[in-house]
Symmetry: C2
Subunit: 377 residues, 2 copies
């Protein structure tokens, strides 16, 4: 059994489980959601606001921090935790996904990915070794292997060659690791092909990592494909290691992934949607700029006990959003993060009482009503 992860409780009725992930900056209860702090800040949130909203761990992006302000600068400033004044755990991704989604003029070779910065057009070569060096300089608690992330529509033959490359890069990532205090996770690729996913996972297990992640999901594929991939890997994943699905997702995605036995998640959805005025609520998603909230004295979500719901009316939040006020982004982000983290807390409680399957049922029932309402908008 891995020393850094323990399953605390296996739900008697499904694959969902609770666990505890040990990191240098503290223990994390799983299943957990990680708010995204791309450029050494979760947008519009002070660190203590994150703590107040219940954040236990955040994610930062290697690609962005490498380009600006530069990992050597962050290292010189005492590492990412000190730089951004966040003393709880941090996970950094490997830069793989961002290179494929943001950078320009990419060329993939055995050595790595050559690309142009989306900020200033400068040329760079990101390799497994450099990705690990960056992540070591940043000093996150959990770091990721450098991977290739093929597009959702890539052909099987391409995905097959790509996952083999990702495996070789994973071995190089592990070999490059010199710090002993960081946990290194491997990233399973294989696109929409369950068989290739299983092959990727087997190859990664062969190498051996502190945790296993599914990459390349939520990149435009059908939900059914996402669920099939979750399902295909679930049995093959070692039960005593943390299982992370990268870049998901909607509240429904999280519930589904937990049901399949996954432990860790990250997504920009709660923060990005907040800045666009889309707020999560137990009564359905709310577009705060709508006229119907003009004189609404109620909180965003009557079932939510977060700072924003305790303090402000929908009418005030609508006014702030319409006026383009920075406080709109601040309060909306706070609520959405608190709402996601509260969902994870309820998920953990449901698992602990062996009732996650029932929780999932009632959650879907509620979300069906929600999405019907969303369609009306």
């Amino acid at each position: 059994m891995a020393q850094h992860f323990h399953v605390l409780h296996q739900d008697a009725g499904c694959r969902a489980r609770t666990g505890l992930l040990r990191t240098p900056h503290g223990d994390i209860p799983t299943p957990i959601f990680m708010p995204v702090g791309t450029a050494a800040t979760v947008k519009a949130m002070r660190p203590e606001n994150l703590v107040e909203a219940g954040a236990r761990i955040i994610l930062a992006n290697t690609y962005h921090l490498y380009l600006r302000p530069g990992h050597r600068l962050v290292e010189q400033m005492g590492g990412l935790h000190r730089f951004m004044a966040w003393d709880r755990p941090i996970l950094t991704d490997s830069g793989g996904f961002q290179v494929f989604s943001l950078a320009e003029l990419r060329t993939i070779t055995e050595e790595g990915v050559s690309f142009r910065s989306h900020i200033d057009g400068s040329r760079h070569l990101l390799t497994p070794e450099l990705s690990i060096a960056i992540q070591q300089a940043l000093g996150a608690d959990v770091i990721m292997c450098f991977d290739e992330c093929p597009p959702a529509e890539a052909e099987r033959s391409y995905v097959e060659r790509s996952l083999a490359l990702t495996t070789r890069w994973a071995a190089r990532s592990k070999a490059a690791l010199s710090r002993r205090d960081q946990l290194l996770f491997g990233i399973v690729q294989g696109g929409r092909f369950p068989e290739l996913r299983r092959r990727s996972l087997e190859e990664l297990r062969e190498i051996g990592f502190d945790g296993y992640a599914l990459g390349g999901l939520s990149v435009g594929e059908e939900k059914a494909v996402m669920h099939e991939v979750m399902d295909a890997c679930s049995d093959l994943l070692p039960t005593d290691h943390p299982r992370y699905i990268m870049g998901i997702g909607t509240p429904e995605d999280l519930v589904e992934a937990v049901w399949h036995g996954y432990d860790m998640f990250d997504c920009v959805m709660p923060t990005r949607n907040a800045r666009n005025g889309m707020l999560f609520s137990s009564q359905g998603r709310i577009n705060i700029k709508r006229k119907e909230y003009e004189a609404d004295q109620g909180p965003i979500d009557p079932a939510c006990g977060c700072y924003v719901c305790r303090t402000y009316s929908r009418a005030y939040l609508r006014h702030l959003f319409r006026s383009g006020e920075i406080l709109a982004s601040m309060l909306n982000t706070h609520h959405n993060i608190a709402w996601y983290l509260n969902l994870m807390e309820r998920i953990r409680a449901a698992i602990a009482s062996n009732s996650f399957a029932a929780f999932r049922q009632s959650f879907y029932h509620q979300q069906t009503r929600t999405s019907e309402r969303s369609k009306e908008e």
Copy 2:
């Protein structure tokens, strides 16, 4: 003597004085600076951040709140304090200055000012009676008479006619007041002409107000003109009423105004400059985006004990600003407000020990070095 204001201490060496202003939402020590919360939010600050930064009273803009979300809506939501979750005192201006600086197609008549909204082009007529009705609906602790604010370069004959109109509007403002819990201040106009300023003030004293403000300063006139006007009114102002100079200013303006015996101030400078990366420091003003701060581990101001200076490096703040992060506006605003309010605290302490003249001397000495440094930028 006015019941709502007491001079606590008159500096033995100059006209500066400390005082206490009583309002329904609490007592305010003077001299005081009021951060500007135009649209029912001090931009990028939660209410508790304002308290943390030392804010005792904030200013909100009648013109903006009248146009959006509308004073009747704010009233329906329980008033401005409740709407924005701020339970300390609020001062609202009358809308006069904003109508002249922001609105389009203004027409001034005896009745009031007809204008087009800068938001949606809709037509409105703002009168002394409507301004008071709006300010009553918002429910601020201190409200202002509706005034005409002529441009800095206006001719004497125009300013003379204008101040007479402002006096008649002041009388109408007072007559329109029906709430008894709000303090009503008169606004002295008269442009750059000391004689007209004194005439305006005498006419306002005749009517009688809870406090007296100088309006129409810091609208483009020379500093010497500003100081001359401050000086011209100082002796004529009743000593037992609060004296407010609207819309100033720089730290130097505040020190100069206190030296002339004024008690209250507001300005967008600390908040607006913060969003542009200009930060106040005892070592001079800082443009945080400058390359020299790239790896600077120090705080914005080593002499500042605010949350931002206790927590973050110049290097981090530079990174946030360059990355266009919302947190840059949040932290920069917090520091600048805390810095202004700390300056006022030091001013009050200097007066209390009869040493404000010496404080002013050393402050100017420091600021001279500052502005020399600023010129180099």
